[in-house]
């Protein structure tokens, strides 16, 4: 997910004036909720989730951008924290002292892109962008996929993460035509294609059941390499679109696999995949909008996985990104891939 280039639809909630209360995004409360997250050190949960800190900042910052309050977290503070997680090999850990990992390296690159911080990276580390790109590239396996770290767990999530981060850094082979390629793109896309199933969906590895999270990462990967349209074709898009559209349940929410519960985070993965293949009109957007808004905590801010559940920053960003993609007034536009 990245914020669309160019001016968004405003933000700040001005355009929401006409909506009934239950259809309004409580912008100020979400901003306050996100700002409060780093001040909760007296809660055990804060310490138990330190292994997610950088991703948490990425989710929070993206949410703030969507809400039209990009400066609600201080840029200097974010950058200082980010660089305190950077290792000499170019990888980022989740927090200071945590080992480097693909997931947090990608979150860091996404944060740097969002706050226009690549120059700062170069200042703090000589050839920093190249070093980070090389850390990511170094995790590619002979079969084209990517490991999360030196310990070797592979997953199509990491493959998408790698392509996404390299593209933001400007180090995809297609962006560096005069240089020897850092990664083997054909091997990576061949692996993605091998993860596709008869139902049009994708799994975590060849042979695994289709899952909407993996559909998102695989479509995202093919979209970054520019092959999504030609690879799927209209028939492929119809098949995948049908599988994705069946994720919508009568509540309006979307689930991740057949016969599972709806969840705001799946709403995002399903919906953005549908947008990438031009099939977003195959679900009921009004009902989905209403479902996501029911997951909002109108008192304290934040979104939960389902109505009435505890909010968290992860579901908050996916809820807001979903609403943005659905064209809800008052939010900045988002890019599905």
């Amino acid at each position: 997910m990245s914020l669309a280039a160019g001016p968004g639809r405003g933000g700040g909630g001005g355009a929401q004036g006409q909506l009934p209360d239950e259809m309004k995004v409580v912008v100020e409360k979400h901003v306050a909720y996100i700002q409060s997250l780093d001040t909760r050190r007296e809660e055990l949960e804060y310490h138990l989730t330190e292994h997610l800190r950088i991703s948490g900042i990425y989710w929070g910052l993206t949410a703030l951008h969507l809400l039209g309050h990009p400066d609600a977290l201080p840029r200097d503070g974010v950058l200082d924290f980010l660089f305190s997680c950077l290792h000499a090999d170019g990888g980022f850990g989740a927090a200071p002292g945590h080992d480097p990992h693909m997931l947090y390296t990608v979150s860091s690159v996404q944060i740097l892109a969002m706050v226009d911080g690549f120059d700062e990276l170069e200042k703090r580390m000589k050839d920093g962008k190249l070093k980070v790109a090389k850390y990511i590239a170094g995790l590619q396996q002979p079969n084209g996929t990517f490991a999360g770290d030196e310990w070797g767990e592979t997953d199509t999530r990491f493959l998408y993460c790698a392509l996404n981060a390299l593209s933001l850094l400007g180090f995809l082979p297609s962006q560096q035509a005069d240089q020897p390629p850092l990664i083997d793109v054909p091997a990576a896309t061949a692996y993605v294609k091998a993860c596709q199933n008869f139902d049009g969906g994708f799994g975590t590895e060849p042979g695994a059941e289709s899952h909407s999270g993996q559909v998102f990462t695989c479509c995202g990967a093919l979209s970054i390499t520019g092959e999504l349209d030609s690879y799927l074709g209209e028939e492929g898009k119809d098949r995948l679109g049908a599988w994705l559209s069946e994720r919508q349940l009568p509540s309006g929410g979307l689930n991740g696999r057949p016969e599972k519960l709806v969840d705001v985070c799946y709403s995002w993965w399903v919906m953005s995949s549908m947008a990438m293949i031009g099939r977003l009109h195959w679900i009921d957007k009004a009902k989905l909008t209403a479902f996501i808004l029911q997951c909002q905590d109108p008192e304290e801010g934040g979104f939960a996985d389902r109505p009435g559940d505890m909010v968290d920053v992860f579901h908050t960003v996916f809820g807001l990104a979903g609403l943005s993609l659905l064209g809800h007034p008052g939010l900045v536009e988002v890019d599905p891939a």
Binding site: L44, E153, F198, E209, H211, A242, H281, E300, D305, M310
Partner: protein, 378 residues
């Protein structure tokens, strides 16, 4: 930071009593102390049993802390690396262990490694039970098994992997859709087949396993999915004749049709039906083949048979959207098969009627039905 299914208490920032705050402060202190203990020891490369125990304490409280799993592996790697240098059995290894090693065809060093890894596998069991969806636990388990395969005699690795099959069967018994569980099961199967050097195939028992899982709960798409994945290899290994293949194909249709009669509102079943039908579809890049050869006549015949059979399902289930979806999808493919107009088993009026019903029952996907209408050129 990412929670699922935890009810919201009115106002998450409710004022806690001083007593509760104090309790939480102490919990945080204990947690930070346990964390510092591991980190300080690893910083000075103390890879002792005490450090291993310190990681256990911390991971039992927070199995999502991936860096600590990495630290744990450093300790284990160090212990493993030291074993082969121990040429003479020393005081650490008692006579019973030596006998056990000999019986298992292991060197004393291998026996110690096996004990170490087995102990770690046992440490993970209660954690997996408590956090069955935690990536890092499954990840560590896979690492232990890969390490065992690398260092131990094949027979010992096979024994360990067989234990994993037992474990994953138990896990899937508790949550039959667990994504990690099914993935790990495929890994275990591949490992056992690989370790046998190609002598052992688990395709038949795995196929049986999906039958068992489906019988227990029809709605288990994970099992249906795995079944569909196994069939092509099953047929090759059975050296199935074209007649055998047709028999299996027919048996699968019978199985799924019975299931559909039990619950036509279950998506999982319709996806398996789609899977069977996809094997007749030359336009699907990811379909497998069951019938061999599969002639034009076969395709027409099976499409007619299934359209007819699904049409009958409508009786008593007129409000079931999946039936209309299937009828429309399969009839579209059927009409592309260039069946002579006079012999066609589906009429345009009928297709229009199905689409109308579908629009009524399933307004959520109205946009899709509009596109389908133009695609069918009705």
């Amino acid at each position: 930071m990412a929670s699922h299914g935890i009810p919201r208490v009115s106002g998450t920032l409710v004022d806690k009593s001083e007593q509760a705050k104090e309790k939480e402060r102490r919990q945080i202190e204990r947690y930070k102390a346990a964390e510092a203990e591991v980190i300080d020891r690893i910083r000075v490369k103390d890879y002792s049993a005490t450090t291993l125990q310190a990681t256990s304490t911390l991971l039992a409280q927070n199995p999502e802390y991936y860096t600590i799993w990495n630290h744990r592996r450093l300790v284990l790697q160090d212990a493993i690396a030291k074993e082969p240098t121990r040429t003479q059995p020393d005081d650490d290894i008692d006579a019973a262990d030596l006998t056990a090693a000999r019986l298992a065809n292991q060197t004393p060093a291998q026996h110690q490694i096996a004990l170490l890894l087995t102990e770690d596998l046992a440490f993970l069991l209660p954690l997996l039970k408590q956090y069955p969806k935690c990536y890092w636990i499954w990840n560590h388990r896979a690492w232990l098994l890969a390490t065992a395969t690398q260092h131990l005699p094949t027979s010992s690795a096979v024994t360990l992997w067989q234990g994993e099959m037992g474990l994953v069967t138990k896990m899937l018994g508790m949550d039959s859709r667990n994504f990690h569980g099914w993935g790990y099961r495929r890994t275990a199967v591949a490992a056992l087949e690989g370790l046998s050097g190609g002598d052992v195939s688990l395709v038949e028992p795995e196929f049986e396993y999906t039958t068992k899982m489906i019988r227990a709960n029809l709605s288990n798409f994970s099992a249906w999915h795995n079944r569909g994945r196994l069939i092509p290899r099953l047929l090759v290994e059975r050296q199935a004749s074209s007649e055998d293949r047709r028999k299996l194909f027919d048996a699968e249709f019978e199985l799924i049709t019975t299931a559909l009669y039990t619950d036509p509102y279950d998506q999982s079943l319709w996806f398996y039906h789609q899977y069977l039908m996809s094997t007749l579809d030359t336009g699907n890049k990811h379909s497998v083949s069951i019938l061999e050869p599969c002639t034009h006549g076969d395709r027409v015949r099976y499409l007619e048979q299934e359209i007819e059979s699904i049409r009958e399902m409508l009786d008593g289930a007129e409000d079931c959207k999946y039936i209309y979806q299937a009828l429309l999808e399969y009839s579209m493919r059927y009409l592309e098969m260039e069946v002579e107009a006079g012999n066609q088993k589906v009429t345009t009026a009928e297709r229009k009627g199905w689409l109308e019903e579908l629009r009524k029952i399933d307004p959520l996907r109205e946009g899709r039905w509009n596109d389908l209408e133009s695609k069918m050129k009705l």
